[in-house]
Amino acid sequence: MFDFMSRILGGKSRLGEPRSKSLAKERLKLALACDRVELSPQVFEGLRLDLARAVSKYVEIDEAGMKVRFDSSDRRLSLVASVPVVGTRRTGQARRSKSRR
């Protein structure tokens, strides 16, 4: 009951926008990860683009749906990329399409 009331009074519904603390946590995760490897947001964007370019040499990807982040659980940093693949291409093809340009 109390929960229900506070949800109504407190603004967003459960299915609506995330509460501000989830945003804070997500933003902090990336900021800390970047701070820890001393990457500026621009350099990070460069890394994302290079990754996209490298992967699309082998498979067709949906670049807009690509997600790259640092995961820093336990103070160990790893780079996690999720790249939606929309089609395969043969390596030969990839090379050919490149040489045609």
Partner: protein, 265 residues
Amino acid sequence: MEGRVIVVTSGKGGVGKTTVVANIGCGLASRGKKVALVDADIGLRNLDVVLGLENRIVYDIVHVIEGKCRLRQALIRDKRVQTLFLMPAAQSRDKEAVQPDQMKQLTASLAREFDYVVIDCPAGIERGFKNAVAGADEAVIVTMPEVSAVRDADRIVGLLEAQGLGDPRLVINRLRPEMVKRGDMLDIDDVLDLLAIDLLGVVPDDESVITSTNRGEPVVLDGASRAGEAFRRIAARIDGEDVPFMSLEAQSMWSKFKRFIGVGR
């Protein structure tokens, strides 16, 4: 036996370092330990007013370091707790008046006479920070559950590591249970998850901190205050006792009422 030298630091200003130093110092001294508090915030001293000792200062840390007085002469004994002492900062000097090596010497001589030496570090990561951490064996990081304080705390973890202070412990200050409950404030697990260091304690945001500071009496001496209880537990943990973490549920109207009429906490 050598005492333990503990630096309390945060990166970001205004998150509660001085309050934490005053209260864990007073808490440890109330447990019968001999404690020296060192105000390393040269030029912006505050530990003296928080402890209500501002009228007793004759000599300060820079006088000691420059050899203008003996160590003992600069130490002010607390009014309430006999085993608590303050080494005040200089007010009309700046951070450059002291070198990290000199700080090291000073804290080492204090550690020969006290069980605990607790250092109040200034905000920032420059000279004042380097001075404050120079002689420390352990570090306590103070943060608040909000983005800039947590981010700065993370920088401090890295900088402390570089100084050989590898296992800092965290105090989360000014937590507001009702905001956590409605999902508008990072909770304890979020902060620990992000910073990945050990928790020393959580202090609720509490008006009694401000009213007791107004009087110059650390809130840890106030048996009825929730923040005071949090600080008593933190002091006990530093002293090696294994005490459970306080429950910081948002208080219901009912429990507030029960507290009001004096049954239950």
